[in-house]
Every structure is written in C-alpha cells, then in structure tokens.
Amino acid sequence: MSALNIKKGSTSHSAYDLRSGSSEVEESHTLAVIVENEPGVLARVIGLFSGRGYNIDSLTVAEVDHTGHRSRITVVTRGTPAVIDQIEAQLRRMVPVHEVHDLTMDGPSVQRELALLKVAGTGAARVEALQLAEIFRAKVVDSTLESFVFEMTGTPDKIDAFADLMRPLGLLEIARTGVAGLKRGL
C-alpha cells in the first residue's frame, strides 16, 4: 500500500471541553429525568437502559406535577464518563423526556432513600435493635412483642450500614424505595 506521508506531531488535541475518553473508571451518577406522564414512558426509558446495555442501580418514579402531567424518574447508574454522557444524550433525545439533570455533576445535591426494616427478636437483641435504631434516627412504625418495623430515611450508604447492624439482631425483611434526589441551593 502506498505511504501516507503524515506529518508527525499533527495529532488531534481537543480544545473543546470534553472529558477524557480514555478513562475506563466507572462512576456512579444520579440522574433526574423529568418526563411526560403518559403510558409507556417509563418502559421506554427503562428499555433504553436494557437495550443499550447500561446499568440501573436504583430507580424511583412518581408523578410530581399532577396538572402538568410530569413525572420525575430518579435513576442511579454506573459507567465510564463517556458512557454517562451517552446515557444523558440518549435520554435527552427521547420524545417524552423534558429535562435531564445529572445530580452528580451539577454541584452538591441531597439524595435520600426510604427503607422499612422488619426485625424479629426478644430479650437483649430486641433492646439493642431499638437502641441502634435511635442512633440511626429510625422510627418504629409497627411493633409486636417479637418484632419491630423500623422506618428510616437516609443515603443508601446509611441504610446499608443500618441493615448490616440489624442482620445479626434478627432482620427478616427490608423494603427500599430507591434514591430520590434534588440539587442543593437554587
């Protein structure tokens, strides 16, 4: 084949504000997606993730504007920066998607999850569970002589930590809502 005679040192160097494509480190991002609340929209958003092989670590959805029929989907996903960019671009171009916010990139944010934990036990274990619940500011929302249901809100890490502590004390079941998040400040 013929020689190309390409000048050395003429390689492209981006002057544009792009995050390096070479980074292979996966990051966790929390995205808030404001969508038209009509049938099939959630399936379309979820289908994007499954169809293109993206991860979903957590997902919450509810209508947040009843008159405007807007729902807010909060999705926690993982990927390299390039993949996260692509996920956001793919979400933005969807017809029923109004806004996409990357809470991880748009400055500080508040992220909370609600969990219900059923812990069974008697005697010392039961007392210890109650004390730990107080430390974690979990509320007792149901109790029998052999069990509690605790309600707590917090970051997913905090809920994980509490659940780990409850496990040897008789944790039976746990229900979690997934993360909801808002940007801090205005």
Binding site: M1, S10, A82, Q86, A89, V95
Partner: protein, 581 residues
C-alpha cells in the same frame, strides 16, 4: 367550530390534513372501520400490499424518494408484528414513516384476544415514538403529533395503535394547527461559536476531507445545494457513506467515491490520512470506522448532526455541532464568506496530488470475461444505458448492493434507496414499488440478488395490480453472495448453507405474475437485454445470470483500520486470520 366524527373518519381526515396522498396497507379485522372510510373517499389512494413488511418498506421507499413521510396501515397482531422489520429498518436509517395499526377493542386488551399483540410494547424499541390511543377524543391530536415527531429532529418511524372501539366511537376532531406539538422542538441551529471553530479548521486544513451521510439527504434538497457550494468554494475532496450517495454528484470533480468496508481505496485512504475531517450528517458507523483505535488517527474532527447522541457516541470529536445540516451549512458558508476565508492552497494541492495517486490504483478494476457476465460489468452496462434518465435505484442487501453503490453514479439526492443500517434483505422490491408509486413516470430499478429478492417477491402482485412498472434487475449467482464471500475468505471455504439449490425459473415466475421475464447469461447480448427491459411498459423480472464466485472488493475486514484495506489482488491476505464481525 369543532367537528364530530368517528375515530375511523378522524384517521382519514388527519391523514388528509397532513397532506398524505397514498397509504400502503393490508386490511384485517381490527382496522375494518378505517378501511370502510377509505372506501368512501377518493383523496387518499390505498395500495394493497401482499405482506405487511412490504407495506412498511414501500412507505420507506416513498419517503426516501420524496422527502415526505410515508404511511402504512396494518391490522392488529400479525399485521403489527410483520411491520417490525420495516420499523427497525426505518429507525436505523432515519426514515420518516407513520405506521397505523389496528388493535383489539380496549375492553379486550390484556385478555389474549384473537389477533391481539402488545403492539406498543413490541415496537417501542424500534420506533422513535409510539402511542396506544384509548380515547377517540385524543386520536386526531395524536396522529398530528405523530407526523410532527416523525419529520422533526432526526427523522424516524412512529406508530399509532388504535383499538377497534376507538375507531367506532365519536368525538371532536382536533385540526392539525391545534395539535400539541410544542413539547418536541429539537434544536436545528448550530452553535455559531462552534461553527466559527470549524471555519478556522477549514482555513488551516492541509489534508481535509468532507465525510457526508444520510443526514444531508434527510435535511432536504437545500442541504445538497449548500454542500455543493461548500465544495466549490473550498475545493475539498468529498466522500459519502452508503446512505448519503447523491448529495454530491458522482460526476463532480471533487468526488472521491463512497467510503467504508467496501468503499473506494482513495476515499478510505483519504479518511485515514486527513488532518481535518468534517462529518456532515453521518454517524461513524462501524462499517465506516473499522478499528476505532486506528480510525483516522491524525485528524481533527468536526461532526454536524441533528441528534446530540450521535456526537461522541463512537468517535470523540473536536468540534461538535448539533443542528440541521441545512442550517449549519448556511451558517458555515455565511461565516466563511464574511471572513473572506481562504483555504491552505499549497497543502491542498499536495493532498489532491496524493489523492489522485490513490485514484490511479483504479480499485474498482475487475477481470473482464467474454463468456460469463461479471456482476460489475452488468452494473456498468446498466449505468451506461440509463445515464441521464429520470432514474431511481433501490437495492436489496449483499454483494449486489455494494457493487451498485460502487458502479452506479448518483447525481442527486433521494435517487438511491438502500437498507444501510439494518441491512434488510427483502427491502428493495417493495421499496421500488413505493418509489414508483411516488414517481409514476420515472424509471425505477431494484438492483437485487436472487436470494434477497425472493424474501418479498410476493410484492410483484402489488406491482402488477397498481401498474408500477418496476424493473427487478436480479444479479443471479445462485448464491448468498456476501455470505459465500466471507466463507471463502474467512471460514476455510466451507460453504455452509450459502447456495440455493432450488431456485424458481424467474422468467416463468414473471409470466405467472403476468409481467415480463428476461433471462440473460451471455455478456454479448447483455445490452440488448437491458434495452428490452427498459423499453417494456410494465414490471420486468430481469434474471441476469452472473459469475457465481465473484468477490466484492475493495474490502476492509471489519476490525481493521482503513489503511489495511484489501484490493482484489490481495485476497490471500485474508488467510492470515483477520476476523470479521
């Protein structure tokens, strides 16, 4: 003053208001009310197809040759599932089509009713947007929205699923101008500052290349005019993807031919060696880029695309411009002229010298034969004998498709309809009918392979019934040619299921459909046979018996960079174990 009407009548009214002239469809239980309305009017023509896949490909052919959205109408269940391939094809190639499906009545949805399928569920990943309309009052509004969505932003297929009771019920008709479309208004103006950076790149470029794609065609005729102006003012070389052929004329002096896996040597080497690449409405498809790591390693890249998700999806670019090709090129030319921009003439002259050396390789040469018809020769003769005619070409998928792209020249956009992204065998025959319905007096030729052609051959019945004089130019090698080529070059010549043992007699088949059949296997009489095909006033099945073992070159084995492309003489290089995907 709003008008009350049934849902079925609303469908017809909304289609009329959207300027629809023809619908490709097939009736069935769940769309009978709509067919009843079709019967009682004369504004919209209905073309009865022979299979729903055909209806969608016809709508695609109609859309791609006119720039207007194509419309297909099919029934529930199997009607809808048969439309899935066409929808996916249109999604991959960004073709604006509107598919209307019937559905079982709302009260039966979810009961596994007769001919019930979860149509919106099945078609969600293969439509740009779809709707199940459960309320007649929302039907007209939804249809207007559907046309808006199909044709704005990056075009694509949309689907509206209408239960039978919604077709029977009555409600107020919402006219097009009152429809709710404000929520979907994609950006079309490119960012002026980014365009300024592109203009600066163009001024300093020593080895530029314009890499154009289907986005130029989709953007409309004005985009092609602007592209030609840009080429004329800069003298930059220009290549195109399979999808973009015709945006710049093949006879233009700056044309370096199609690029990609079976693209021209000069086009691919120019892509590899350029210092500035300007992607206009293409998407760095894997058939274009080859090995990503080694794709055009020394260039700064600009990318103009209306779809923000196309930018940086595969190849990271230096100048991203989100916008409609027409609007962006207008701004590029405005800035270029306002700045009194000049190209880097010295560098450009050297670059052209290099490109001309690559051209001199004559990568499309093949070994001629006096005894058998070489497929390349057949296409060269077809090109020569139809040049200057009002001609539209569709293709099926495979070797013949690549040869057609290599050996036929396209002077204008919307003249070349092929299944690029999805690679749908069976596309070309129905697409040719859709094109012919839109352009009744034009010459419409489907360049086909016999295997692809058989996949939707029932549509010859449609061609006959609706007097669409489509010419089916079948390069018959009795093989699945592209599969056979890969097996020869990469699978140890083990031809697993890649030949057809029991082909029909195409001439008799033509007679059975009531059209004309021509068989030719002697290169000496090929011209006469082609002339006979062109002279016949009606559909023709042209059975061109070609060399059975011809391979399609040049070829970049996938996963290889552009500068490792193979010309026919290099066939031995395959044996070294390149892996195709």
């Amino acid at each position: 003053m709003s008008k009350q009407m049934t849902g079925a009548r609303m469908v017809i009214q909304a289609l009329k208001d959207q300027g629809v002239e023809v619908v490709f469809g097939y009736p069935g239980g769940a769309v009978l009310p709509i067919y009843d309305e079709i019967f009682q009017q004369n504004d919209i023509r209905h073309v009865l197809v022979r299979h729903e896949q055909g209806a969608v490909h016809m709508a695609e052919g109609y859309a791609r040759s006119t720039g207007k959205p194509g419309v297909a109408l099919v029934t529930s269940g199997p009607g809808a599932t048969n439309a899935v391939t066409g929808l996916t094809d249109a999604l991959m190639d960004s073709i604006p089509i509107v598919v209307i499906t019937g559905q079982v009545p709302t009260f039966m949805i979810g009961t596994d009713g007769f001919q019930e399928a979860d149509t919106v569920g099945i078609t969600r990943p293969c439509t740009k947007m779809n709707w199940l309309v459960k309320d007649t009052a929302k039907l007209a509004d939804t249809i207007h929205q559907a046309f808006h969505v199909a044709t704005h932003g990056r075009p694509g297929p949309v689907l509206i699923d209408i239960p039978k009771d919604v077709q029977f019920a009555t409600a107020d008709y919402v006219p097009a101008e009152s429809a709710r479309i404000s929520h979907y208004q994609p950006r079309t103006d490119g960012d002026a500052a980014q365009i300024a950076r592109l203009v600066e790149l163009m001024e300093s470029a020593e080895r530029p290349i314009l890499y154009t794609g289907g986005g130029v065609v989709n953007s409309g005729l004005r985009a092609s005019q602007l592209l030609r102006e840009l080429v004329a003012e800069t003298n930059f070389p220009i290549t195109s993807t399979l999808m973009g052929l015709g945006s710049y004329p093949a006879s233009g002096k700056n044309w370096v031919g199609m690029l990609g896996m079976h693209g021209l040597y000069e086009a691919n080497l120019a892509m590899h060696g350029c210092d500035v690449m300007i992607n206009i409405g293409a998407r760095f498809d894997d058939r274009i880029t080859g090995r990503i790591k080694d794709f055009s390693p020394h260039s700064k890249k600009a990318h103009i695309d209306i779809d923000p998700s196309s930018i940086n999806k595969v190849i990271r670019v230096d100048v991203p411009i989100v916008g409609d090709v027409t609007k962006v090129l207008e701004e590029v030319l405005r800035q270029w002229r306002a700045r009194g921009s000049k190209t880097e003439k010295g560098g450009l002259a050297t670059w052209w010298k290099q490109i001309n050396e690559w051209r001199a390789v004559k990568c499309l040469s093949y070994k001629p034969s006096t005894t058998t018809i070489k497929p390349q020769y057949a296409l060269e003769r077809l090109e020569a004998l139809t040049k200057g005619m009002d001609r539209y070409i569709t293709t099926e998928v495979g070797q013949h498709q690549m040869w057609a792209a290599q050996y036929l020249g396209f002077e204008d956009p919307n003249r070349w309809m092929t299944s690029g992204g999805l690679g749908t065998m069976g596309y070309g025959l129905p697409a040719s009918i859709g094109v012919q319905i839109a352009h009744p007096d034009a010459l419409v030729i489907n360049v086909a392979g016999e295997a692809s052609w058989l996949m939707n051959m029932q549509e010859m019945g449609t061609a006959m019934q609706f007097r669409a004089p489509v010419k089916q130019f079948i390069l018959n090698n009795e093989r699945l040619g592209m599969v056979r080529q890969w097996q020869e070059l990469l699978h140890g010549e083990r031809y697993s299921s890649s030949w057809s043992e029991s082909l029909p007699d195409f001439v008799k088949l033509a007679e059975a459909f009531g059209c004309k059949g021509i068989r030719i296997d002697d290169p000496k009489h090929l011209d006469d046979a082609i002339m006979e095909m062109l002279a016949y006033d009606g559909p023709v099945i042209f059975d061109c018996r070609v060399e059975k073992h011809e391979n399609c070159f040049p070829m970049i084995p996938s996963g290889k960079p552009h500068n490792e492309m193979l010309l026919s003489a290099d066939a031995d290089a395959f044996k070294s174990g390149a892996v195709l995907v």
